[in-house]
Structures are given as C-alpha cells and as structure tokens.
C-alpha cells in the first residue's frame, strides 16, 4: 500500500476537494474568475493605455539621426540659427555633427465648418538639412541610411501607391527637392493612402499644397517613422512656417569610434561651460522623461482609480471564498476528522485562491488588452488635448505590465483568500455535528468601532498633508489618496455597525407580514458577511459618487469659467491648432489684416511659447491684459493691487499668473522671477493670480508687445475679437473663413461648446470605472446573500414546512438585500461627500492647482442610489427564489 506523502495528500485535496467543487459549480467559478478578471482588466487596460500614450512621445529626429548624443534648446522660444556659426567656430576641432532642427505641426484642411477641435490628425513637420543627412548616417551607422540620393537626388523608394511611386526622372529631382520648399518626404503609410502625389495641409494658417518627394527611408537601426511625421528640408520648413533664421533645437551626433561615451561626456561638459546658462542641454531620453513627467499626475490618477476597481473586485473574491468556506464547512470537518492537519487545509484553500487569481489574471490580460484598445483613444485624446501631440491608436500587450497585472491578481487573491483559509483551517470537526446550522448573527467584534474611528481620524490627518513634489514640477497627492483609502475603509467598517441600530428603530415596520419580519430579523443581528457586503457597497458607492461630485463640480466650475472667459465674439486660430502641442500659428501679416478690419472693435492678439523655468516647464503668453479685463470677467485668486498691469506703457516687467502656476512654482502676488529670453534674462513681478483651467503646467501673461520684443517673435497663437456688432459674428466668421481658408474662426457659442466637450471627453474614462465599481459591489451583495441562504437552507426547509411559499421566502430575501443595500448606500453617500471634498479641495488643487466650486450632482446621486437599490432588489429576489428551492440535505 502506498504511503500518503504530504504531496499526495495536497494533490488529493486539490483534485477531490477544490477542483471538484470548481467543476461542480461552473457558473459560480466562472463568475468569480470573471469578476477578478474585470478588476485586473481595468487596471491593465489603464496601464497599457498610459504606456502607449507615453511611448507615442517621440523625439522625431531619432528617425533620421538614430538617437543623438545631446540636444541644445532655448529656455524659451527659438534658437537663432546664427548659433550654428558660433558652435562651428568654438568646436572647430571636435569631430561632431551638429544637426539643426525645426519642428512644426499641420493638419489636413477641413470642410470650412467650425467642426470639432482635435478631431483631425495633427502631423508633425520636421525640418532637417537633407543635404547633410548622409554625413550623419556615415558617422554613426554607415549601413543604416540609403545613399544620399534617397534624400536629395534619387527617386523615392517604391511604395504600393502608384500615385507617389512614379516620380519625375531623377535627374530633375535634386533641384526640385531643394529649391521647392513644398517638397516633402512622407511615411510609407501616408504615401500608400494618397490618391495623388500631392498633400494639402494647413501650415501655420496657410493652405499649402505639398508634393511628395519620396518616402522616408527606413533602416533597422533607426526608429520607425511615425505615421504622422512629414520630413522637410530645413530651410524649406523655415520658409513655409515664416520662421526663417529660427531653429527649435540643435542636436549633436558624434562619429562612431573608440571612447564614444567619454567623448560625448567631454563635449557635454565643454558645451555646458561654453553656454553659460544661455541654452539648455538636453537629450532624447530627457525629452521622453519630460513627456512622462508632464503626464505623470494624470496617469497616476488613472492608475489609482483602476486600482480601486481592482480593490472592489478583490472584496468580491473575499466574499466568494468566504461563502465557499461556509458551504463546504461539513466537508472540511470531515477532512479534519480524517486527520488532515489544519495547515494543510489552509494551504489547500490558499492554492484554490491562487488558482482563482491565476485564472482571473489570465482572462484579465485578454480583457485588459481589449479594453486598452478602447482606453488608449480616451487617454490619447486627453494627452493630445492637454500635453503633447500623439497619434496613438492602439496599445500593445507589454510583458512587464502583463506580468505585474498577473502577479497582482494572484497576490491579491491570496490576500483575499487568507482569512477564509484561516477560517477553513480552524473549522473544528465538531462542526460536523452542527452541520446545516446557519452562522448565527453576532455583535460586531469590539475592535470594529475603534478601528473605524481611528481610520476616519487618520484619513483626516492625512488630508492635511501637502502633495509630494516630484522633479520637473509635477505633484502627486499621495497623502490625500491615503486619506481617501482610510476614509473608505473607516466608513465601510462603521456602516456595518448600523443595521442593528436602524432595525431596532423600525422593528414595528414588519407588522404582521411574516416575510418582512423574517427579512428584518436577519439584519437585527447581522452576520459578519452582512457587514462585509455593506462595507463593499460603501466603498463602491463612495468611490462612484465621490468621482461624480468631482466631475459635477468641475463641470459647474468650468461652465462658469467658460462663460466668464469666452465673452468676445470671434476666436481665430490656425486651423491646424488641434491640440495643446500644436505649433500652428498665425503670421503677423494675417492677424494684422484682421485686426485692421472695420468691424473689429477690439482685439487681443495672443502669443504663446513654452518656457523652461528652474522648477519645470510652463507656458508664457503675450496678450493684452486690458482686453482680458474689459472683455472677460476674470476670477481672481489674488487680484492686482494697482492699475499698472492694464497699461501697456507701464506694465513692462509685470505679469499675471494662473493659479496652477502659483501652486506649481509657489509664487504669489508680489513675488518676482526671472524670464530667460533671447534678449537676456528679464525680471518680472507677479501682480495678480487668476483662476484658469486651461492647463496644469501654469500660465504667465505679459503684455504682447514686450513678448514680441523679448522673443523676437510676432507669430500669434490666437486672435480674440470683439466686434462692433456682435450680431454680425456669424456673417463675419464666414467672410473671414472664405478669405483665409487656413484659419479656424469660431463664434463664441461654438467655442464654449467645444471647450465643454473637450473637458467632458477627458473625464469619459471615469464613467467606465464607475460602472464597473457599482456592478462589482452589487455582485458582491449577491454572493453574500447566496452564502447566507446556503447556510440557512435547513431553516428554509423548516419555513417551507411551516407554509412559507417560495415567493414569500424570496420577498424576505429581497427585503434583507434592499435593507443591506440601503445601509451601504447611505454610508457610501456620506463617505462620497467626504471623498468629493478630498478630490476637489485637496487632490485637484495639489495636483493641478485648480480651485473648484463644490457642486454635488444630487439628482445623479439619487439616481445612483435608486439603481443600486433596484439591482439589490432584483438580486435578492433571484437568490431568494434559488434559496427557497434548495433541498435541506443536498450534497453540493
């Protein structure tokens, strides 16, 4: 006879107990796996979408240079191209290739209507010296790039589209390519979809018809050209964008050879000493890091939300495993009586939890990847609107993220299964004697009340802590998130104590209705499972309603801000202005002509550029403060103390700052800072802080004339126009649009609508999370009720024997379910108010620097409550019907 080794016993336990039950109740098992998978899927899809959006940020020059050894940037505005002469002179003996770059954006023209902002693909236009490109290739990767001709002389490589694969005879190409600035190289994907060898684009505010000079060559050692990249000869793009003499950056590439990294380090050091603070020395990886930093707060918020969904899912796993312990208590007792040690039983349960986690995790990977394809568009749109241009369309299943999601699922399942496993291990064989006896209701353990109070107080204390400041200027409200977690747990625990108190008060409600009295009786002294179900509901409702309070308050605040801010008649920008990173601007000759139109009463010519300050990047605007005062109702956080800022003759050196700027750089009215400008450092004093919800990096506003003088730039980002006769706005819009097809001209109502739409789009992703939270919590309630009824199945037999009909038992269960849900909803709504406050007044202000009005969406919250109660009633009824039909002594 074979001796029963520990391994054999463990295997037997798995096959005869855990696996048999899983097979015996496939739907329950599937539901559990699915629930866990949903939690994992939400987490993973958000992570994958985030990763895709970050990965889509690319230093486009890498496509033609591979990764350069460094990048010279201006702290603000453009670099003068004369800097190249200085570099060549200063580093005459250094073997290095300087690669000047100019970058812009463009879109394909629209149909002339006002249209949705951000709905069209933004192309990135990259200008590099076509003639010098082959030198780079030979310096770094002699095998990497095709011969010179690919850029300057030869025909474009063949693509499947005959429209662009039959260029003019190559002996005519060189001249055309270099002399005609409208020649462009495109990615193969663009070439393949074109119907003609031309491409019409809005560059700055002009409609330009480009001729396809060829397809961007690809090489194994270079990054693949993104689908939205268009490559120009540098001076051509300078001319097309009206930026002759300007560069956006100068990259440098060292030839391959011995000690390349040491040479690069030495050059960076020499450059640093030579620049003396005039320029910034960066790198491709720095730029990618910067993009990651910019979006860090946004991504972390999403990740935390997704983790909350996973948390709610885990509560469900906990409830389900706990229910399984209950159902299989007799079996465990038999095993114990047969001599199986408690530790082995505990391991068997943990193994079952881990298996559940693995199955849920694997399914979650699939669902998460599918969900990411949807989420990536939402995340991409938000990143596009707020941070930088991205054409990200899909998210790939990253192995690291997948592994972490799977590990999270297994570890979390083990944690969730820990307590039920211990319960199982501690089941005494004597349980066999009392089989079928339902778990009796009992007062909550003594530790619950003090623990919940401690958690609430801890949450309050955490809420007072400041945000964590990260390099690059971004902030994360870690303490506030800790506070939210404490409050959620505290509220959940506390709410579990409420049913006996409430039922005692409404004991008479049952009257002579036996089902009602039965239903109420179970809550008079609730079991731990009731309390758990209530806690789950509290968490889910609080999270969902708290988010709704934030979004509702944001909506109200933003509508007010939009109404106060957008009070002029017409808003003009380049039609290419589709996202936060758009570089399409309006040429001075165009905006000057518009400003001079007789219908114009007043105009605010707005210029903007990104500014690198010691604490991070921000945005500098040149505009007309007096116009802002006259044509908008600014909401001041700190109002200007005197009138100088409104007067162009007296406001040199004065600036207004947005609230985000103030929070980010910890500067207030009266504080001074130094602006780095091509004309040298300029000290400015902040004279007012205003509310602004346009970006989280902060904005500084100075008089446009000073801006133009300091940065040598007259290109306008937008033009805000007040007409003599506002009723003529639509007619004038049509006329201006006809005269300048490359301009986007918006009327006030349209722009207000677009601003709200973009805002709501950024919150769309939270809707899905809310729905998942609610669905999972109601499912949890269903699991709890099912466990309770299973425990009470002998009682149910007795009730039927006493004459209870199935429907009456179902009604009693429904009442129990609804009352449990009501307690959970009540607790959840109270907690949601606290959570809403936290999100609005701590997280939002700390992370984004935005002060919002608090405006809970009461109607929505009532609807949510009703929906949860209805779902609880339906769940209770269904499970009651199922429970009523259970046989008294059925072997599962």
């Amino acid at each position: 006879m074979t001796e029963a080794t520990p391994q054999l016993i463990q295997r037997l336990l798995w096959s005869r107990v855990s696996w048999r039950h899983a097979r015996g109740a496939p739907w329950t098992t599937a539901l559990l796996v699915l629930t866990l998978a949903l939690g994992v899927a939400v987490y993973l899809s958000i992570r994958l979408a985030n990763r895709a959006a970050i990965a889509s940020f690319q230093n486009f020059t890498d496509v033609v240079t591979a990764e350069s050894d460094g990048i010279l940037l201006a702290p603000a505005g453009s670099l003068p191209e004369s800097l190249l002469l200085e570099l060549r002179e200063r580093f005459a003996d250094t073997a290095v290739h300087w690669v000047p770059v100019i970058e812009s954006t463009a879109v394909e023209p629209g149909d002339g209507s006002q249209g949705m902002i951000g709905s069209r693909t933004t192309y990135t236009l990259l200008g590099v010296d076509w003639v010098a490109l082959p030198n780079l290739a030979r310096a770094r990767h002699p095998e990497a790039l095709p011969p010179t001709g690919a850029w300057t002389g030869g025909p474009p490589p063949a693509v499947s589209n005959p429209a662009v694969s039959n260029p003019a005879p190559h002996d005519a190409e060189l001249g055309l390519r270099l002399e005609d600035p409208r020649r462009v190289f495109v990615p193969a994907s663009v070439a393949a979809r074109l119907k003609s060898p031309t491409l019409r684009l809005v560059i700055q505010e002009q409609l330009v018809e480009l001729t396809i000079a060829g397809v961007i060559p690809e090489a194994p050692s270079q990054p693949k050209a993104p689908d939205n990249l268009l490559l120009f000869d540098l001076p051509a793009l300078q001319a097309l964008t009206g930026r002759t003499g300007q560069l956006d950056r100068i990259e440098f590439v060292l030839p391959e050879g011995p000690d390349r990294s040491a040479r690069a380090a030495a050059l960076r050091q020499d450059l640093g000493a030579w620049m003396n603070g005039r320029f910034l020395l960066s790198s491709s990886s720095d730029r990618r890091d910067n993009a990651a930093t910019m979006t860090r707060a946004f991504r972390l918020n999403l990740t935390i939300l997704s983790l909350l969904a996973l948390l709610v899912g885990l509560m469900l796993v906990f409830q389900a495993l706990d229910g399984a312990v209950v159902r299989r208590r007799e079996e465990i007792a038999i095993l114990r009586s047969l001599g199986v040690e408690p530790e082995r039983i505990r391991r068997a349960w943990l193994l079952e939890a881990a298996a559940l986690g693995l199955a849920g995790g694997l399914l979650g990977l699939l669902l998460g990847w599918l969900g990411a394809q949807g989420a990536v568009r939402g995340v991409g749109q938000t990143v596009n609107s707020l941070y930088y241009a991205t054409a990200v369309r899909s998210a790939s299943l990253d192995p690291v993220e997948s592994a972490s999601a799977l590990a999270l699922a297994i570890v979390a399942s083990l944690l969730a299964g820990g307590w039920p496993a211990r319960q199982a291990a501690n089941t005494p064989p004597a349980q066999l004697i009392g089989r079928g006896r339902a778990q009796a209701g009992a007062p909550a353990p003594r530790w619950v009340l003090p623990a919940s109070l401690i958690l609430l107080v801890l949450g309050g204390a955490l809420a007072t802590l400041p945000a964590l400041r990260l390099p690059g200027g971004s902030r994360i409200s870690l303490a506030a998130y800790g506070s939210a977690l404490s409050w959620l747990l505290g509220a959940g625990l506390l709410a579990g104590l409420l049913p006996p108190l409430l039922i005692r008060r409404c004991a008479s409600w049952g009257g002579f209705s036996a089902p009602a009295r039965l239903g109420l009786s179970h809550l008079r002294q609730p079991t731990g499972r009731h309390r758990l179900a209530i806690a789950g509901l509290v968490c889910a409702v609080a999270m969902t309603a708290g988010m709704a309070i934030l979004v509702g308050s944001f909506d109200t605040t933003l509508r007010g801000w939009i109404e106060r801010t957008f009070m002029a008649d017409l808003y003009v920008s380049s039609e290419g202005a589709q996202s936060a990173s758009t570089q399409n601007r309006i040429r001075p000759e165009t905006w000057k002509a518009l400003v001079a139109e007789p219908e114009v009463l007043a105009a605010n010519v707005v210029q903007a550029l990104e500014l690198q300050l010691p604490g991070g990047s921000t945005l500098l605007f040149g505009g007309h403060p007096a116009f802002m005062r006259d044509q908008a109702r600014i909401a001041w956080r700190e109002a200007p103390a005197d009138d100088a800022i409104w007067d162009a003759r007296r406001n040199r050196g004065l600036a207004l700052a947005s609230e985000s700027f103030s929070h980010r750089f910890r500067l207030h009215r009266g504080d001074t800072l130094t602006l780095p400008t091509p004309a040298g450092p300029r000290p400015i004093t902040l004279v007012g802080i205003f509310s602004d919800y346009g970006n989280e990096r902060g904005s500084l506003v100075i008089q446009r004339e000073h801006f133009a003088e300091w940065f040598g730039d007259e290109l306008a980002t937008s033009l805000i126009v007040k007409l003599h006769d506002s009723d003529q706005a639509e007619a004038i819009r049509a006329r201006w649009k006809a005269a300048h097809p490359g301009l986007a001209v918006y009327t006030q109502p349209h722009l207000r609508g677009e601003a709200l739409r973009i805002f709501r789009q950024t919150f769309a992703i939270t809707d899905a999370l809310e729905l998942i939270g609610i669905a999972v919590s109601v499912l949890g309630l269903g699991f709890t009720l099912a466990s309770l009824l299973w425990e009470r199945r002998n009682d149910l037999t007795t009730l039927r024997a006493l004459g209870f009909r199935h429907s009456e038992i179902a009604w009693a269960t429904t009442l129990e379910s609804v009352l449990t849900a009501l307690v959970g909803i009540g607790g959840g709504l109270v907690a949601s108010l606290a959570l809403g406050w936290l999100l609005i007044h701590r997280v939002n202000v700390q992370t984004f620097g935005w002060t919002l009005e608090t405006d809970p969406p009461w109607g929505w919250m009532a609807g949510l409550s009703l929906a949860v109660v209805t779902m609880a009633a339906l769940t209770g009824w269904s499970i009651g019907r199922w429970g009523a039909a259970l046989p008294a002594e059925r072997e599962e």
């Binding site: 095709p146 300057t152 002389g153 060189l174 000869d233 002759t244 391959e256 011995p258």
Partner: protein, 407 residues
C-alpha cells in the same frame, strides 16, 4: 535603386578633365549646359559663359591671393591635395584631402512665391563635397571619409583668399611666410579617432597647366579648366590617432582647378598621376580613356623642372599601360595593379618607362556618398632598373562598372 547627388550630377553629363578625380562629382556639371563647339582649335576662345557660368578664358591674368580662393562664377572648383608623410617614429603614410565646390541649380536667394527668402545659412546656391583619405603603409590600413554640405554655416569657400571649409575640415591660406612662400593650413581627419593638422609650404612656384592658361579636356571648347598647381609643398604637422599625437613630415601636391564644363563625347574614364622625383623634378599626366579603348587626343603629360619650368606633351609622346590587376572586393572594380608610364624627357627625347607601384593595393574610395567608386592611392616610382626614384599618387576612374552607364 537610389541614386546620389553625385550620380544625379553625373547624369547631367560628365566633365572631368584630368582631375577626373575632381571627380565624378565635378561632373556634376550638367550636360544641360553643353552647347555646340564653334571650332576645334585649341586656342579658340570659347564664349564667355555657358548659360550663366564662366568658362576658362585664354590669357587670364591670375591675381593672388584671391585666385587661390573660390570662384563662384564657375560651376565647379576643387582644391586637391595628395601627399606622402613619415612620422617621427618612421612610419610611412599617404593622404588625400579634397574640397569640391559646385554651384547650385538656381541662383541664390530666389524665394518661392509667397514665401520668405530662404536662410543664407542653408544655401542652395552652392554645394560642397569633401574627401579625406589616409593610408598607413606599415599596417596596410586605408581609411577614408566623405562629406557633403550645402553652402552656409557648415561649408563655404572665401572668394578673397583660399579659405574653404566643410564641417570641421578646412584648408586655409595663412599668407606668405618669412621667405615669401605660400603657406597653407590643412585640418582634416577621419571619423573620430584620426585627425590631423598640417602646415604646407610651397617649395616651388605655382604652375598653370594648359595652353595660355587653359587646360583642355575634350574636343568641345567648353570642356576646359584653369588648372593651377603647387607641385611640391613641404608638409609638417600633427597626426592624432586616438589619444596619441605624432609629428609627421613629408611632401604634398596640390591642384586647384576651376571649370564649368564636361567630359567630351566618347570619353569613358580617366587615369591621372602626379610624380615627385627625388631629384627635385615633378611630372603630371592624365589620360582620357575613350569607349573604343584608345587614349583621347586631349590627354596630357607635363614635366616641371627643378626651376619650375613646365614642358607639356600630347598623348602621342607618352604611353600609359597597366600591369596586373587588383579586384576590389567591395565594388568588384578591376584596376591595373601597377601603372607603367613611358614618358619623353623634358627636352622631347625618348625617356624612361616609370613603374608606379601602389604602396597598398586597396586604396579604393567606395564612393558611398557619390555612388561611383574610384581608386586614388599613394605609389612608389621605380625606374627600369627597379630603383625607387620618386613618389606618386595615381587616380583611376571608370573601372568599377561602366562609368558611362552609371552616369
């Protein structure tokens, strides 16, 4: 197949005079500019310009230092230095440094309609190609690099004196030294680990080849150049290899040629050589090869005496033959392994047969940037008895495939 700027240029027709080397690239010169010859006399003055570019004019009076500099009125121009060096440790080297200038397709500063005038730092009016090559005779290592830039911040040539630059490579006239000798500074290198800075001093007077200041290359009167040469320059400088710097000294040859014209009909390639004899004399010869295998009538040989006096002879007085074969493993081109040059004496009497032996067989420039490979390398010169009597540089084009077809 992607074709390069060079091959594009070539496709417009190919010039290439003796410094065919001046290469292929030179050939840039646009067949479109060709016009029918009105006569064939060697001294017949061609029209002033083929389209908008100047053509070499007989009797031109050169003015220095300006004429050492750039001549934008000509379509094509190059400064071409080849030399032999010995390091302080006794290692022997050969080097080549070439700067080409080629006019752009249109006049400078001609903005497209509605657009700003293009930046002067990214010109399209001129392009600059440069080659650097280095031979370490001891190890047999031959390295080269080429570079193409547009006129502007990273490449330019001064019109007032010789000062031409392409990236961090440059050639500059430092003016006469205390003895009145023209002094030049050459900065060059290959990739990151080989760099040199040399001072070159003219040891003999400047030579102007050709007849009445015009060097003819083909039947067509436009196929001509002004061909100025320092046939012997002393060289001293520093060679930096990695972190090690060595002193090098030796002698070099420098051509400066300006032209606006092209290869003649029927010409398929060229061979060229410059020889510096140990006795203080020099010899230059180029052979224009025709498609029927014969030597073109516009091939030339010139002696430069110790005193700088030049005597020139046509192809009927010298013979250029190859001996053996070296096949390039990269381009597949089959080049003569050794050149035998039968020359007349300066006084016209029958002279010796010179044997030009490469110091290293593989001195082929891959033409990666230009797309057309050619051989240009350091050679030793032996007499009929096998005595080494001088040093040479030899250039051979049109061996790697059919140059005409490539054009």
């Amino acid at each position: 197949m992607s074709l390069s700027l060079l091959s594009w240029c070539l496709s417009r027709g190919s010039q290439c005079g003796r410094r065919g080397s001046a290469l292929l690239w030179v050939c840039i010169i646009l067949s479109g500019l060709a016009f029918p010859a009105k006569g064939t006399g060697a001294t017949e003055a061609p029209p002033l310009a083929a389209r908008r570019f100047a053509l070499p004019q007989p009797g031109r009076v050169f003015t220095f230092p300006a004429d050492h500099g750039s001549h934008p009125e000509f379509k094509i121009e190059w400064w071409y230095i080849t030399g032999h060096l010995v390091s302080a440790e006794g290692q022997r080297h050969g080097f080549q440094a070439t700067f080409f200038r080629r006019a752009g397709v249109t006049q400078p500063g001609n903005p497209a309609a509605g657009l700003e005038r293009p930046s002067s730092l990214f010109g399209t009016d001129e392009f600059f190609l440069a080659h650097m090559a280095w031979l370490d005779v001891g190890t047999g290592t031959f390295r080269h690099e080429e570079r193409l830039n547009r006129h502007g911040w990273d490449a330019r040539a001064d019109t007032r004196k010789l000062e031409v630059r392409n990236g961090n490579w440059s050639l500059k006239d430092l003016g006469p030294d205390a003895e009145g000798k023209t002094t030049l500074e050459l900065r060059g290198g290959i990739q990151a680990d080989l760099r040199w800075r040399m001072t070159l001093k003219a040891q003999k007077p400047l030579v102007v080849f050709g007849t009445n200041g015009v060097s003819r290359k083909a039947q067509e009167p436009s196929a001509a150049s002004h061909y100025l040469t320092f046939s012997r320059l002393s060289v001293s400088g520093d060679l930096q290899r990695g972190s090690k710097t060595e002193r090098v000294e030796g002698e070099a040859w420098m051509d400066h040629e300006l032209s606006s014209s092209q290869l003649g009909q029927g010409q398929v390639g060229w061979d060229w050589a410059c020889i510096q004899f140990f006795d203080g004399r020099e010899l230059m010869a180029y052979r224009m090869r025709r498609d029927d295998g014969t030597t073109d009538a516009f091939s030339t040989l010139a002696w430069i005496g110790k005193d700088g006096r030049v005597t020139q002879w046509g192809p009927d007085r010298f013979r250029w033959t190859g001996e053996g074969q070296w096949k390039s493993p990269r381009s597949g081109g089959a080049y003569p392994a050794t050149v035998l040059l039968s020359v007349p004496e300066p006084d016209g009497s029958p002279g010796p047969t010179l044997r030009l032996e490469p110091l290293c067989a593989d001195q082929e420039l891959s033409g990666g940037l230009g797309g057309v490979p050619y051989w240009e390398g350091a050679c030793r010169v032996r007499d009929a008895q096998g005595n080494e009597i001088g040093r040479a540089f030899v250039e051979m084009t049109g061996y790697a495939g059919n140059l005409r077809r490539a054009l």
